[in-house]
């Protein structure tokens, strides 16, 4: 019956504020304060969803988190949200929702025909069939039918914030017990209290109480909460996870009640809560009763009927009947009568009920059916009639028919399940309490207390008599899990096939695996299983609850750290200059560096070729700042470095520089670079670009954990300095134009030497090493001068034809020259002997990190992959890094191409690789394989360009 605007007095909706919305394209009107579910009920919309497997027509079952039927597709386009619970969607102007998992719509769904084949589709039927001819032939069909709502097709227009918060006491749930606990804790003004409640407004079940006393109490409590400065209240916030060390995760809904139009940029806020003590006041969820066709629209939980009547002011039906196995539903029925709702009958499976309740019900003119069961329901898309039978004894068997009973609303109560999900996640133990047939907290594992209904403290005794399923009638249509269409017969079948562990039953029948995560079906399922296996419920046990308590927006876990914020880029000191020079930036170990500088009309290859020619013929400038610069200080610095490097550091003189290799303890080459001795107790250690912090941590770990007696301090000075590489035959003459106290003349400053001094008025350090094969100066100045130095050198070099060059050009140049690049030309198996350093190892008198591993049997394998040059035999042939070198027989791998470029300076391919036994096989011809193509190549010494090594002295 429609009652859009006319609601009962006391209702917490605003009759003065009508709100328009649409469902499945139909226009409706609700009131401010409604949820989509209450508004749909107000408009007499019976069928709001379809079940997952059989597409049974379904109406609203509950009034909150426990809802298993009323799942809708909320909004459209980029704002769409599948599987939204109508009971949790606050109504807002212009709301658009559609039914799901149905065609053409939930009201008349063609897939509903599946219900006719229920017999053929018992639990896990799919494991027993679809094998012929193969699962493939069937899968496409099953895939199409499965699923509920539809995923968005475009990016989320809203964002999500993450917020950390620390509190001494965290209270979850702002019902009566939660409010009491929060106010109690807040008496100590030094105690930071966080009160969290998931509903639109605080109050919990008090919001559905018709009693003026309750409402007054709530108002007063909320006033006091507001007055307490040490209480922070988070409303519309659901605590979803309870992790180790009293860390909780919660989701605050900031904009969902305003809809796409009204919402700000932030949709939800994800809270990480660090709690001293936690109080869980999470209430309890009512259980359905299990009887034939108990899933018909019009059959609701009694607690939901109470909510819709008192909180939302709905009458719901003309004939409201209650069906229960405990006292709480009786009180609900009487409350309804008091506000004038048409409660016509109460059916109770218990033969005897508390006489006082009985008396009050009779006085209210309610027909009573004690010791009676509902054995069937009728009504196509809405409830019309109940079929009743007497129960014998304590309800174990069915007796005589008790006729039929017309009604349009059935309010059922199978008892209550304390909401202990979070408690269970916290590691707390549970105990099964027979009297009320529910699990209650037993022994906590963390600093948490559970209060109120969540702790099994019901305001008045339930006098419950469990009935897990209806005896004497077929279990086939007695639903346990409404969402996934699990019936009592499915659970019995599982037991019959010896799936008797509760986890097996859950997985075999999918009971409790639906989106409501078994909030209404878990305990009933246990009950049915216990009966089927003749075990008491405690022996059957319960499944473990896992986060999230309630499904949680994936975007909220991600927060703002997306796109450019997903992983921080590191920027070069002269970044702006590179942008101005048209750099093509790429990600090199989190550093944003120019790959090359394509000029108008140039593609990447052309740019690299041009830059490479310029460096060989004139001069080029590279921002080399990420070059690792570690400073090692202390009286024991030399001793330490001698243990760290493969090389003998004892003989390194002050002022001298030496190329060195570093291994890990397994003997694998992890880094190389130039080590400079600045003073007896001060060394400058260069690492591969991007390797600086890794190597820094490697050294720190040895100093702090193994050699704690060595007085050594290691600092990572990489970003203190901007380092520019000036390279090419004209490099020196360019540098000479800059005013400095360092003589960079050929004789004064030779290859592999280091100088410190001042350059254009700033401190500077210059290393003469070469990674290009040309004369190179690696010039470091304070980072904030990096851009100025870049500009100065470009200006000074303009006449000499200086060009900026990028990393890809550097890689081409060093490949031409045959210089090893650790990480590219080595892999996680490369040992020094594979690089020709076996001799150096033998010569070194002392132990060093990784040395012992080199003499394990693997180190002597003849077919170790060793660093080599490769010369493609076909003229003008090309290959790629990643191609394989094949064995002589040509059917398996004997190495890889690790660096491959086409050299614009030599006009042929330059190729490096690691190949089995290469150091002994120089001159041999091997086969290279890539993308189905084979090529022939000769193993040669690395270094096609300037083998004599004159250029870098030039």
């Amino acid at each position: 019956m429609k009652q859009t605007l006319r609601r009962l007095p006391h209702a917490r909706v605003d009759a003065g504020k009508p709100i328009r919305f649409t469902f499945d394209g139909q226009h409706y009107e609700g009131l401010a304060g409604d949820t989509l579910a209450s508004a749909l009920l107000a408009n007499g919309v019976g069928v709001v969803g379809r079940s997952f497997k059989l597409h049974r027509p379904r109406g609203v079952l509950g009034s909150g988190k426990e809802e298993a039927n009323a799942l809708v597709q909320l909004e459209r386009g980029e704002y769409t949200e599948p599987n939204a619970r109508a009971t949790l969607v606050p109504l807002y102007e212009g709301l658009e929702a559609c039914g799901q998992n149905a065609w053409p719509n939930v009201h008349s769904d063609l897939f509903g025909a599946l219900g006719l084949f229920k017999r053929l589709l018992p639990a896990s039927f799919y494991y027993k069939t679809f094998m012929w001819p193969s699962w493939h032939r069937w899968e496409w069909l099953v895939r199409r039918i499965a699923g509920l709502g539809t995923a968005p097709q475009s990016a989320d227009p809203q964002t999500y914030l993450k917020q950390n918060v620390h509190a001494d006491v965290v209270v979850v749930g702002a019902g009566r017990s939660g409010l009491e606990a929060a106010l109690e804790a807040a008496r100590d003004s030094a105690c930071r209290v966080l009160l969290i409640d998931e509903q639109e407004e605080a109050g919990g079940s008090l919001l559905a109480s018709p009693s003026d006393a309750d409402r007054a109490w709530l108002a007063a409590a909320l006033r006091e909460v507001a007055a307490r400065e040490n209480i922070t209240r988070l409303q519309r916030t659901t605590v979803n996870g309870y992790y180790d060390n009293n860390v909780l995760a919660a989701l605050e809904r900031l904009g969902n009640h305003l809809g796409p139009a009204g919402a700000g940029p932030v949709r939800e806020r994800f809270w990480r809560i660090f709690a001293g003590r936690v109080v869980l006041a999470t209430g309890a969820i009512e259980r359905p009763l299990v009887f034939p066709n108990n899933d018909r629209p019009g059959i609701l939980l009694a607690s939901a009927v109470r909510e819709y009547s008192h909180r939302y002011g709905l009458t719901l039906g003309e004939r409201i009947v209650f069906y229960t196995n405990n006292d709480s539903a009786w009180r609900t029925a009487l409350e309804l009568v008091e506000v004038g709702l048409p409660v016509t009958a109460i059916i109770d499976i218990r033969p005897a009920v508390d006489t006082a309740l009985r008396q009050r019900a009779e006085d209210a003119g309610i027909t009573l059916y004690p010791g009676t069961a509902v054995t069937n329901t009728r009504g196509r898309r809405g409830l019309r009639r109940l079929v009743l039978h007497r129960l014998t004894g304590q309800g174990e068997a069915l007796g005589a028919p008790a006729g039929t009973l017309d009604c349009d609303v059935l309010a059922m109560s199978g008892g209550w399940t304390p909401t202990i999900h979070l408690y269970s996640q916290s590691g707390g133990q549970l105990r099964y309490r027979d009297g009320d047939a529910c699990f209650v907290p037993e022994r906590a594992h963390q600093a948490v207390t559970v209060v109120g209904r969540a702790n099994g403290e019901f305001p008045e005794p339930l006098h419950l008599q469990p009935q897990w399923l209806t005896p004497g009638v077929s279990p086939e249509h007695q639903w346990v899990d409404f969402q996934y269409d699990v019936t009592a017969s499915d659970i019995q079948l599982a037991a019959r096939e010896n799936f008797v562990s509760v986890e097996h039953v859950k997985r075999y029948t999918t009971n409790g695996m639906s989106v409501d995560q078994g909030k209404t079906s878990n305990v009933n399922g246990l009950g049915v299983l216990a009966l089927a296996t003749g075990r008491p419920i405690p022996e059957v046990g319960t499944t473990r609850f896992r986060p999230p308590y309630h499904p949680t927006t994936i975007g909220a876990y991600a927060g703002i750290e997306l796109g450019g914020l997903y992983t921080p880029f590191q920027q070069l000191p002269a970044h702006a200059a590179h942008v101005a020079a048209g750099a093509l930036f790429e990600d090199y170990g989190a550093w944003q560096r120019p790959a090359c500088y394509p000029q108008p009309g140039e593609d990447e290859d052309a740019a690299v070729a041009r830059e490479a020619r310029a460096v060989r013929s004139a001069v080029g400038l590279l921002d080399y700042s990420p070059l690792g610069k570690l400073e090692v200080h202390g009286p024991d610095a030399r001793e330490f470095l001698n243990r760290v490097y493969l090389n003998n550091i004892r003989t390194l003189e002050v002022g001298a520089a030496r190329y060195g290799l570093m291994l890990n303890e397994a003997g694998i080459v992890i880094d190389d670079g130039v080590l400079v001795c600045l003073a007896e107790d001060h060394f400058l250690l260069h690492t591969t670009s991007g390797g600086a912090s890794t190597i820094h941590q490697h050294l720190e770990e040895w100093l702090q954990c193994e050699w704690t007696d060595l007085a050594v301090i290691v600092n990572n000075a990489t970003t203190q300095w901007a380092t520019l590489m000036l390279s090419g035959p004209r490099a020196r003459s360019v540098l000479q134009q800059l005013d400095s106290d360092i003589d960079v003349g050929r004789e004064a400053f030779g290859h592999m030497q280091y100088r410190a001094g001042r350059l254009l008025g700033q401190p500077c350090r210059i290393l003469r090493a070469s990674f290009t094969g040309e004369v190179s100066f690696e010039i470091s100045v304070p980072a904030s001068c990096g851009q100025a130095l870049w500009e100065a050198l470009m200006q000074a070099g303009a006449a000499q034809g200086i060009v900026p060059f990028g990393i890809e050009t550097l890689m081409l140049l060093r490949t031409e020259k045959g210089y090893l690049h650790v990480g590219a030309d080595t892999d996680g198996n490369t040992m020094p002997q594979d690089l020709g350093w076996g001799g150096a190892v033998a010569k070194k008198p002392d132990d060093f990190i990784g040395r012992r591993s080199l003499s394990q049997p693997v180190g002597a394998d003849p077919d170790r992959f060793q660093f080599t040059g490769l010369e493609l035999l076909e003229p003008d042939a090309r290959t790629v890094s990643g191609a394989h070198v094949l064995t002589a027989a040509g059917e398996s791998t004997a190495g890889y191409v690790t660096s491959a470029y086409y050299s614009p300076n030599l006009n042929r391919s330059v190729v490096l690789g690691i190949v089995a036994g290469a150091r002994e096989r120089e001159g041999e011809v091997v086969t290279i394989f890539y993308a189905g193509r084979r090529q022939r190549a000769r193993l040669v010494k690395p270094g096609a360009y300037d083998p004599a090594g004159e250029a870098f002295n030039g």
Binding site: Y127, S154, H504, D827, T893
Partner: protein
């Protein structure tokens, strides 16, 4: 064993499914077995099945401390693939993949193996080069694998973030079309049903509390349900290997860590492949039920706590939204953790041990599920012949003293 088929389903429908036989028995524990398998997960059950079928050894007990498939078999993301780098690995996993392709009919149990195809994505120039090396390695070994361009990837995964300005730009990738997902519980149940039918005793809720070893030989097994005499014990207890091996006085090169997986609420089909990426670390597929099945990396600290941890959940979902912006408004439904045993080279250990008659299958790391058939087959062979199966010779326990690690990560050049 009653044959499962559309016909049997129809037949039983007529009697309301009240006559289905048990999938497996619940036998009493005997005092003597020829072989005792510790661990009633996929590997243990498969081992027992192959012992009985391939080697005629049927006096076998499988001891499970909890419920069948309750360990990592029931906690993984159900992916099977053989796109490995080293021949040793590829040979083994390809053998396993072939078994998956025929398992449904071999065991008369539909494990719903969907060969959706596994796509690996590269996010940098360097990674692309490594992927070329990797893909070529697979091809050289004659296994299907195709390198894919940006455009091909964009077409195959419409919801993937292909923006050229994305923090991690997709450079390319490679696909193993035969890779797929299956129903993990079904795999355990299928092997259990088949093994039971061949006479294997499957004992649930039976925890091993000790191993009897004297003069270097295994003699028996002590359980909470009594002692067993036996000369051969196979260990397949992922997530517990160090604990059980210690009962035989053996220390392993293993560290146990927690690996999480999670699923979203079910939605209509929108994701047709299995997509993985090392750099933006998550892997994703959509189950037949419609849930997005999501995995990531293992927690980096040793753990036996089979539960989720918030930081890793956030990290993997952060990666999901970065790669698939449209999934931001979907809801995470369930999340869980399993304990994985990881060897120094992240490769398995299927091996004899210093204790005669004690055989171990461990070190499956994050990839044990895909190895179930081959793992069972090779462990069964190793037990039956007291000699490693050729497929697992490279995966022996003594490879570490040789320094002959089988380190896939190292081969990819990403070890450092």
């Amino acid at each position: 064993m009653e044959k499962y088929s559309a016909y049997s389903l129809l037949k039983h429908a007529l009697t309301g499914h009240r006559r289905w036989p048990q999938a497996w028995r619940s036998p009493e524990l005997k005092s003597r077995y020829d072989v005792v398998i510790i661990g009633g997960g996929g590997h243990g059950l498969a081992t027992a099945y192959y012992l009985a079928r391939e080697h005629g050894i049927t006096n076998v007990a499988v001891l499970e401390k909890g419920w069948l498939g309750g360990g990592n078999t029931g906690r993984n993301t159900a992916v099977s693939r053989s796109n490995y780098f080293y021949p040793e690995s590829t040979r083994f996993y390809e053998h396993s993949l072939k078994r998956y392709e025929t398992m449904g009919r071999d065991l008369n149990y539909n494990i719903m193996f969907s060969q959706l195809g596994i796509l690996n994505l590269a996010f940098s120039r360097h990674e692309l080069e490594i992927f070329r090396r990797w893909a070529t390695a697979i091809q050289v070994q004659g296994v299907d694998c195709q390198v894919m361009s940006r455009d091909e990837i964009a077409a195959a995964v419409p919801l993937l973030n292909m923006s050229p300005t994305a923090r991690y730009r997709v450079y390319g990738g490679f696909m193993q079309q035969r890779g797929g997902i299956s129903r993990h519980d079904a795999v355990a149940w299928a092997y259990a049903r088949a093994a039971d039918h061949l006479g294997v005793d499957i004992i649930q809720n039976c925890e091993v509390i000790g191993l009897e070893v004297s003069d270097g030989h295994i003699r028996g097994v002590k359980t909470n349900r009594g002692s067993i005499r036996t000369d051969k014990v196979g260990m397949a207890v992922a997530g517990h290997s160090s604990v059980v091996a210690a009962m035989a006085g053996i220390k392993l090169p293993i560290v146990s860590q927690c690996l999480q997986a999670m699923v979203s609420e079910p939605v209509k089909p929108c994701f047709d492949h299995i997509v993985m990426s090392p750099m933006v670390h998550c892997y994703l597929s959509q189950s037949d039920r419609g849930e997005l099945v999501i995995g990531g990396g293992a927690d980096t600290h040793p753990s036996y706590g089979q539960r989720g941890n918030l930081p890793s959940t956030e990290a993997v979902l952060n990666a999901v939204v970065e790669m698939y912006p449209a999934f931001s408004r979907l809801k995470l439904m369930r999340q869980w953790g399993g304990i994985v045993d990881i060897a120094p080279d992240a490769s398995p250990i299927v091996s004899k041990t210093p204790v005669t008659g004690f055989y171990i299958s461990t070190g499956w790391g994050t990839g044990g599920y895909k190895a179930i058939p081959a793992g069972g087959e090779t462990l069964a062979h190793t037990i039956a012949h007291d000699r490693p199966h050729p497929l697992v010779e490279p995966f022996s326990l003594d490879r570490f003293a040789q320094g002959r690690l089988v380190d896939e990560g190292a081969a990819a050049g990403v070890a450092h």
